[in-house]
Symmetry: C2
Subunit: 260 residues, 2 copies
Amino acid sequence: MEQRRPVILITNDDGITAPGIKALVEAVKELGQVIVVAPDSPQSGMGHAITIGSPLRLNKVDVFEGVESWQCSGTPADCVKLAKDKILHAKADLCLSGINHGANNSINVIYSGTMSAAMEAAIEGIPSIGFSLLDFNFNADFTVAKTVVTELVKRMLQHPMPVHTLLNVNIPVVAPGELKGIKICRQAHAKWEEDFDQRVDPRGKDYYWMVGRFVNMDKDPGTDVEALKDGYASVVPVTIDFTDFKMKNTLEELWSDFAH
Amino acid sequence: MEQRRPVILITNDDGITAPGIKALVEAVKELGQVIVVAPDSPQSGMGHAITIGSPLRLNKVDVFEGVESWQCSGTPADCVKLAKDKILHAKADLCLSGINHGANNSINVIYSGTMSAAMEAAIEGIPSIGFSLLDFNFNADFTVAKTVVTELVKRMLQHPMPVHTLLNVNIPVVAPGELKGIKICRQAHAKWEEDFDQRVDPRGKDYYWMVGRFVNMDKDPGTDVEALKDGYASVVPVTIDFTDFKMKNTLEELWSDFAH
């Protein structure tokens, strides 16, 4: 008797023609029934943007051999929403986003279009993983990243995870065979220090390019920044409940005279 | 001897001409030195988007009497980043975002441009609050919301909060004098159930409008949804560390054979 193959929804934020999503499809193609719904153009830095004020386009395309694929005019989060409502006929068993060209560890989780697609899936009750390689290059080598993807996806399918499981996986730039392993981590406390590049346009008006420098303030052990530096792929489980329960206790005490 | 007045940075996601930001400025104008840096157009649903691929514009405008004001071509998060790097001469003591025209309670925290500006400030170490009124109407009545703003901002300035303090405040639609009070809450476990409205354009091609229905799956006490329904303003402390520590423990055990 044939077993039902798990349905794997794939998306990204670099656009459907990026090498990273091709690597992701290749890494899991044999593990289930893959369906791709991805943006028709790059969406980096879109955070968890959704498209409310303008309509969306959705077109079937032939990009990955033997894989049902759709391109969407919206954001990564839009792709997951549209896939769920208009394309998938059953609930996906897993949603994968990436492989992003560039890091999404630590505070980048908040700005990342890759992670927003994965978050959207987790909100929908589809266990999901966002994958990112620490190489912005269009021609980055995804060989090592693909082995990490295959290994983690096999694990996720072997032991089905709670429906809201959401993992932020980052892969360091190392030669094949030199990856130290996989580490379960916490999000490093870090930020971007912006320094806008101010220029003058041909009509004499100022404009600004955002440029930033990543600053890690977190020197304690166990962070994703540390694991990546040590040559490991980092896995950070991410929550969709943003409540700060410690601060909640503080406020309940501090404001007990006026708040219930 | 004159005391230094606290510097309050104000932004929003409905754009600098929205009535909500005007109400916010009015509510706190007497409490400190207010500086407004807000988007020049509506940015609802922008999540934590930032502008990387195109340049930003920033122009001084005269919108609020006696208040230094700037409009920016970017997202709410861009506004905070630009304000910090190019406009504020000292670190702001507080950042306020809103008052949003429409709810940002529960899962909306993730999609909200209003909250992304507040989050960006918290990442920068500026205690911040996002305010939202449960009324999408352009002509919404902000009378009650303004009293909540004034009260909370006074409290925040009296007892300076930890630098990463971030509050998501939602205000129900009630007549003046009928607000039950303020409740410290947790984020309700809820989601949007999308049902895309499929149409055909004049050239015969399909397009889709996102429409959704808010579904609260959380029937346990203590949520923001419950407080708002009961006529209270809800205050949810929000974290910028998205690590799911419970899931981290689970994975460390389940994957102990292959992950460190």
